[in-house]
Amino acid sequence: MSTLQPSLQREPLRYRVRAFLAKPANLILLFFLTALIVLSLMPMVTMLTNMFTVHAGTEKKMLRLKVGSWTMSHFQMLFADPEWSRANFWTPLLNSLIVAAGSGLLGILIGGTVAWFITRSDLKCKKFISAVFVFPYMMPAWTLALFWINMFQNSRVGGGVVGLVESLFGVCMPEWFVFGLFPMIVVIGLHYSPFAYLLIGGILKNMDATLEESATILKARRMTIIRRITVPIVMPAILSTFLLIFSSGFASYTVPVFLGSATRTFTLSTKMRALIQAGYEGQGYIMAFLSILLGTLILGINQHFTGKRKSFTTVTGKSGQVSLVKLKKANGFISALLIVLTLFFAIMPLVSFALESVIIQPGNYSLSNMTLNFWIGTEDSAFETGMPAGILVNGTMWWGLIRQVGLAVAVALVVGTCGMLIGYACVRRRGTWLSRAVENLAFFPYLMPAMAFGTIYLAVATSASFKWLYGSFFLLGLVAAVKFLPFASRSGVNSMMQIAPEIEEAATIFGVPWVTRMRRILFPIQKSAIISGYLLPVINVMREVALFTLLVPYPRYLLTTMLFSFNETGYAQYGSAVTLLIIVIIISINSLVNKLTGASFDKGIGG
């Protein structure tokens, strides 16, 4: 035995540093801490300074100040002038809040009801309804908005184009029904109702059945149980779902653009873009900043709810034996109604886009008015369309598609890998400040509405030192990667939480190196979750419009921004064709990955 008496002191610092760096999880956290500070905090700083500085163009002319000098005039203009303020700030803000709250309520109502029917009643065709119901969530929200317009536009509103409903039934819907806040609420609410369905349904399904059974034994009636036991238990989930839909609705850009332009109904995000385009950049950045603040606030409230009451929804092994409510005579009717409604919102958009992409004269759905020229027409048969040929034989379209797919794949590889590494490192070092910092920083971009986020990066890319970034493929990838990291890191954390640390330690004992542990043990166990982590960013990039519109070098650079320019410039057939193409691509990717690995964008709860 050694005669040296070990001291009771802590290890000397250099040993502690060495021990700290010997753990791969610590290295990963340090790397991401640095990267995320640069990528998500620095742009924030740029945006903040932009709120107080003079920009070239309109501002310079109006204020007669040097570009880059400090000013408070953006605030004065946005808030002091009552007229300007009402039109450009308060009304759009109010509209945003109405749309957000309305769609939140609608989403919960639809999603929650369907979730209850699927998990707690003896409804027929559960598998089918469940599978079709989540469809609209997979499609971009703006496709539903376009579908709405295709269906209900009529000769009396907007551009006066005849839609499917008028042409088939001769019914003219009033303007408030076709454009403005009402359809925005319906479209966003419908789009997110599968999200509510998945969250609430998941909890209803995993809820400990004995909680309800013990109430049954105490002779409580079915309705009493729902009111006093079931609803209070799912309440935190409902609130949290509401807030998530609320913030998504608030941040939504594409839906209000499509459904609001005709009636000049602005929300905060659409106004922000309009102001920046009109040269009121300072004001635009202020609005971006305010929406980030609001997003943070909502997330804070959400964490307050879920954090404190999370324990309510403990998942136990003995669930799934719930006695189902017998719907009796109503069963057939409710099942039929749900099937018809889900089919309508899942299949009809596809039919509608297919139709719209082949008719020559809008509003005339007779066979003689149809052509495949918008798809496969060559130069000779091309119309006065601004495009040299149909989209399937068109170089611009193919390049847009290739770029978009390339972007999606690149972003997914980066984001999926980062998310997983962050998940691994954060879970392993859970409880340390470093782990908390990285987890929060990775989630930070979620708080920023896509439009605000794009705006910030636009500010960075147009600043003198980063001019080389502007309009580059790299910038698009970078922005998308940061923007979609929150989901990936969340799912990374969740999937790594499922694995007991002993599973990895058992391999450490055998001297298995870190890389092999990841490759041979952790990845294979969480294969499905990890592949979902890669799949989600692919789909997100494939359907993203708002984030890219500001950052692409020219509108027809990507498929989604191309679509946007078609719709803005009135080539509706091309727009519909491209939309259909995007939906088909997204669905194919999802089902392909699902077939191969069992992972899915939406993990069904039905059946």
């Binding site: 001291s7 290890e11 000397p12 007991a500 330690e505």
Partner: protein, 372 residues
Amino acid sequence: MPQIILEHISKRFEKFTAVEDLNLEISDRGFVTLLGPSGCGKTTTLRMIAGLETPTSGRILIDGTPVYDSDRGINLPPNRRDIGFLFQNYALWPHMTVEQNISFGLEMLKWDRTRIRARVQEMLELLKIEQFGKRYPSELSGGQQQRVAIARTLAPSPRVLFMDEPLSNLDAKLRGEMRTELKRLHSETNSTFVYVTHDQLEAMTLSTKVCLMETGVLQQYAPPLEIYNRPANQFVASFVGNPTMNFIPAWAEQKDPKTLQVRMLDTAVTFEADAPFTLPEQEIIAGIRPEFLPIREGGALKASIYSTLPAGMETTVKAHCRGTLLTSVVFGSVDYAVDEEVFLDITGNSIVLFGGTDHRTFASGRMRFGEK
């Protein structure tokens, strides 16, 4: 052969101290149990010896080699400590079959294929799980998974085997069987076992030495029977033994270096110690195991039955004696009526006395009724 020495080991987390200045010597081929209530630092200690956790300060030597030394910045990774670790939840890799689970570690040690195959077969036979080789962990029962975990841990023939509450997920009957198996494995494998448990019965029956801890501090480190008969303090006495020892407040006066005049339960008792001692204070606590308080005719302590718990082989009887609830164990099945009057006697030569304020043991010996 491996001897494990812990010198001044401490582990502090941000806010609390898990292990405080722990000194421990685990001799070669011993079966040492780290025993204590949950949160006492026993698992942390085990993980520090294994290298899964880094101590804050101190030194650990395995077989004379320092594997951790805070002063010299030595911290060998687990795989260079030649150990095996059996986890509470088995930590079997769910995506590998039983055979793959066992062979994976050997592959990592760069064994050649034929040798791996032979060793896997040997392990399957040793643990009687030959028929499950191709199955996945989820297709096995808890007891079978446990055996696979043991096989995987033993496969590379580690010289030290660490076990973290390996039996706590099994039902009572299986636990009993596995205890027998572990004891047999210990003698067959010739290695040192370090075993963490909160189950005092497991510690008593399995180990050659028990290390009892509470809130990060070592309470007593001794062979099981010594822990049972000569507990170092009241905590150790209360933690070991089921049903728990009776603690009776008493008042004592020293007659000579080995004799005390004690007054407890309103009765005069004489205590004769095994060795000379000095009475630390007059307020003391007498610790009497239930088996040393038999119910018999002619006992001097009158008591009334509170409840009777027959277990077949023996019966635990709780009875009130002058305001104190006492526990007695009687051999065989006896059933007493509630409030029935009985008489208790004091027998045995392992009555322990604790100081009334410091709760430390200061003497042990015999007791008889009456004055000297």
